[in-house]
């Protein structure tokens, strides 16, 4: 799914990154906990988060995330937007809560990070 399709599905506002809307998103993950994102995130991930400080963008940059979608209508602070601009990370904001936003993406074919389920 492209970022543009994700924007439409989540009725999201593009904060920055209009030029990247044709980028393909292969998988996504949602967390407010950057410790978890650093431990389980993978390059190319679409990160959904409710954490709107600059650490969300710095973390996304460190793990080579494709883009960030802020949930519950949140928006990053000025510094976060600046870091995203410098590093070419598109930022979107949706009014949906985390569960709904993730559920919408998953039900439309965007999988989670692979290989995390416990093997029995």
């Amino acid at each position: 799914m492209t970022l543009k399709e994700i924007k439409e599905l989540l009725q999201a506002e593009v904060i920055i990154g209009d030029e990247s809307l044709d980028d393909e998103i292969a998988f996504a993950g949602g967390s407010d906990l950057m410790s978890d994102v650093l431990a389980f995130g993978k390059p190319g991930i679409l990160l959904l988060t409710g954490l709107s400080n600059a650490q969300s963008v710095r973390t996304a940059n460190i793990i080579d995330a494709k883009a960030i979608v802020y949930v519950r209508g949140k928006k990053p602070d000025k510094m976060g937007i600046e870091i995203a601009r410098e590093n070419g990370i598109p930022l979107l904001s949706t009014k949906f809560m985390m569960y709904t936003a993730c559920g919408l993406l998953f039900s439309h074919g965007v999988p989670g990070v692979s290989g995390l389920a416990h093997k029995k």
Binding site: L33, Q55, I62
Partner: protein, 150 residues
């Protein structure tokens, strides 16, 4: 920045404790340096994650720290020396989920007790030593040749 020889790169970064607004800046810079040098992307991401976790630990728990990046043809070495409370029980601190984080740290999205285990997971070699009341030293090493690589 110091270049001690043609085949070695070394740079020192100072990190200030409690400076949450700049937390992560050093590691973002290190990532850029590694890209410029042309380090393998799979190593860049592991080194960046380890550096970021280590940097966040200094910001959250120490007064100050110095992170030294040293690169030779054989290895990438991140050495972090901080001045702070130190760690009483390293075995406990290495357990996933163990944390002494405050609410302020958790509001930053950190303090889940994943930092040190995640550094160890990403590194090819990881050593930690600490003196309670004085500070902690981390040696995080990534092999750049095939021997010893994860």
């Amino acid at each position: 920045m110091t270049m001690s020889s043609e085949n070695e790169f070394s740079q020192r970064f100072e990190i200030t404790g409690r400076d949450f607004s700049n937390a992560g800046k050093t590691s973002t810079g290190i990532k850029e340096i590694l890209k410029e040098i042309g380090i393998d992307p799979s190593i860049i991401i592991r080194a960046s994650i380890a550096s970021y976790e280590a940097e966040m630990n200094v910001v959250m728990y120490a007064q100050r720290g110095v992170l030294t990046l040293n690169i030779t043809p054989e290895k990438l070495h991140l050495k972090l020396e901080d001045e702070g409370f130190g760690i009483e029980n390293i075995d406990l601190a290495m357990q996933e989920g163990f944390s002494t984080a405050t609410d302020e740290m958790r509001e930053m999205g950190f303090g889940a007790g994943m930092g040190l285990p995640n550094i160890k997971k990403n590194a090819d070699k990881f050593e930690i030593s600490s003196t309670p009341g004085k500070g902690t030293t981390l040696d995080i090493i990534f092999c750049l040749n095939k021997t010893g690589k994860k």
